[in-house]
């Protein structure tokens, strides 16, 4: 298969972890005789520095003309604490999601057998956890109208949703549940928010078309608690943008490190693959960043194009690296000399 892959490494640890994912994909290409072409472009803080724009047109065009996008991470502290910054790295990512119509962000959460001891949670709580989180990605309060009063003393953000925005991701979640354990849990705050009540109404209607899937509801505050008390109760979680952001980062503790969690952002036309961890500028260029999330995002990319054997081989290589403790310090309590690229090299060789 021939694939044009746009590579957007971004900021902080983005470039180094993305490099390992590319190594894995190149190994797959040579092993399975595929033709993967990689083209790199700037996004985020690095794009602001180079082009004064968090998402330059050139980058967006490249994405639109590629078959898939491999994304690193964006964000830099010099913007976080500057409330009046006019351009922000995050705008690059948000605009990209919006322009490409990537409305569904799929975040799998699994407890790896070899890592059960690394989690802050007790083994019997997490053992066997296997969740697929469907986070709506182009609506809600992230994209609602923003307002700051002239005197700078009043600010607001609007959270809005339409029936269509809810329906399209709900269908994806229910189809996924049909291939899994037949359960969808909608996370909302329908006892307070009008937008959540719309979610509840529309998702209930969609559910009627999937008679073999059970639909459950949890308020987001309770969900944040249940995710830790009993993560095994979940199969597919469906939720709006901001709740999905919070709940999925929280869920990362199950696997022992956020450095393990991959994600796919899909729409009707484009697809992007990115680790859920951020740019962690403090860790950049130290060789300590865990590349597994990025490498597993590459596996999700392969699955997306129905290259299931290829994806499976990457996952196997990852599990092997975990078993052999060829892991970065975040999950390695035995040796702390294994670097980001050591992990990438091992996975490349294994493939």
């Amino acid at each position: 298969m021939k694939l044009n892959i746009a590579v957007l490494p971004g900021d902080g640890i983005g470039p180094e972890v993305t490099n390992q994912a590319i190594k894995a994909l190149k190994a797959i290409a040579s092993e399975f005789n595929h033709n993967f072409k990689f083209t790199t472009a700037d996004v985020g803080a690095v794009a602001i520095d180079n082009h004064n724009d968090a998402l330059p047109d050139k980058t967006l065009d490249l994405c639109k003309n590629s078959d898939a996008i491999l994304f690193g991470a964006i964000g830099h502290p010099k913007y976080d604490n500057n409330p009046s910054a006019k351009v922000r790295p995050e705008q690059g990512l948000l605009k990209l999601r919006k322009e490409l119509g990537l409305y569904a962000n799929i975040r799998p959460v699994k407890a790896y057998k070899t890592l059960l001891d690394k989690s802050p949670l007790k083994k019997h709580i997490i053992e066997g956890t296997d969740i697929s989180i469907y986070r709506e990605l182009t609506g809600g309060i992230y994209f609602g109208e923003k307002h700051l009063s002239k005197d700078g003393d009043y600010a607001s953000d609007l959270c809005s949703y339409s029936r269509e925005e809810i329906e399209r991701i709900a269908h994806l979640a229910f189809v996924e549940a049909e291939h899994r354990n037949h359960k969808v849990t909608l996370v909302d705050k329908a006892n307070v928010l009008e937008s959540s009540r719309l979610w509840r109404k529309v998702v209930k209607e969609v559910a009627e078309q999937y008679s073999d899937v059970t639909l459950d509801f949890l308020f987001v505050d309770n969900a944040a608690m249940q995710m830790i008390l009993n993560p095994k109760q979940f199969d597919v979680i469906l939720t709006e943008n901001m709740f999905g952001d919070i709940i999925s980062d929280e869920a990362s503790v199950i696997g022992g490190s956020i450095g393990l969690l991959a994600s796919a952002s899909v729409g009707d036309t484009y697809a992007m693959f990115e680790p859920i961890h951020g740019s962690y500028p403090q860790a950049a260029d130290k060789g300590i960043a865990n590349p597994i999330a990025s490498i597993l995002s590459a596996a999700m990319l392969l699955s997306h194009f129905n290259l299931h054997n290829e994806a499976e081989l990457i996952r196997l290589a990852v599990e092997k690296s975990l078993k052999l403790n060829i892991s970065t310090p975040d999950i390695n309590s035995v040796v702390n000399t294994v670097t980001t690229s050591n992990v990438g090299d091992f996975i490349e060789d294994f493939i």
Copy 2:
């Protein structure tokens, strides 16, 4: 001291846990020669059933004419799954908070020595955790303008904050930090939300008046993760309404049960004390509801009136009950025959 206490038991397990708190307060009154007068009124689903209003005027008047309010819990599933219900139990609680100007909700989170094993988290993670969460309670998206389109296919909620709303609770949080470990962590999403950027700006300004307190920032997604990875890093957490709702429910897992967490909601004039758990209708009238959160809320009530010895005695009684395993099934893995009122009786007797 003479205190008029309004009692609003509410729904589900609200009445039974509140009864135990009253028993504790009566025991304190007789032991320390105080004069506490309790007057009960309806709120929530029970108020809708009885008066077709989640917060009848009579209840609000009682609260305004009392020195303090002891609140149980509200909520009933028959409203949760009915998106078009016109009156909802939650409106009673939200209106009460707004009308009484209870803008700061203070939620202490502690890992009790005797309960370390009950938490889903590993002992070394939670041991020594002692957090005080300051959640803004009368602003943000809970109280913003709500909109539902005529055809019912579009809904929105507005999240807004003003400088004053942020300043007043920020001062309370910093004063608290001065009496604790001198650290405030602001939880926001300033990389995306305009309202969060206002929080960051105003809180930074307030911080300048408290030179012995360190101010830290965490994005809410990261905070949800850090709360589980390393809860000991926190001293005082300051945050807006919805983030506080999510983060504090999540933090309840540290203590092993949400049935242990008390809260105080204070403003410039009134003060209300309530467990952070909800109405759990499934558990109602079974004698399995944990009354500790409500009893500890009563202790917060006493502290509020500077009755520190009295509050301390309640806390001592609670710790004793935990040590002796006179606890409801949520935290008792040895005997599961201890009922809600057994716990209340023990604490009453101890006092």
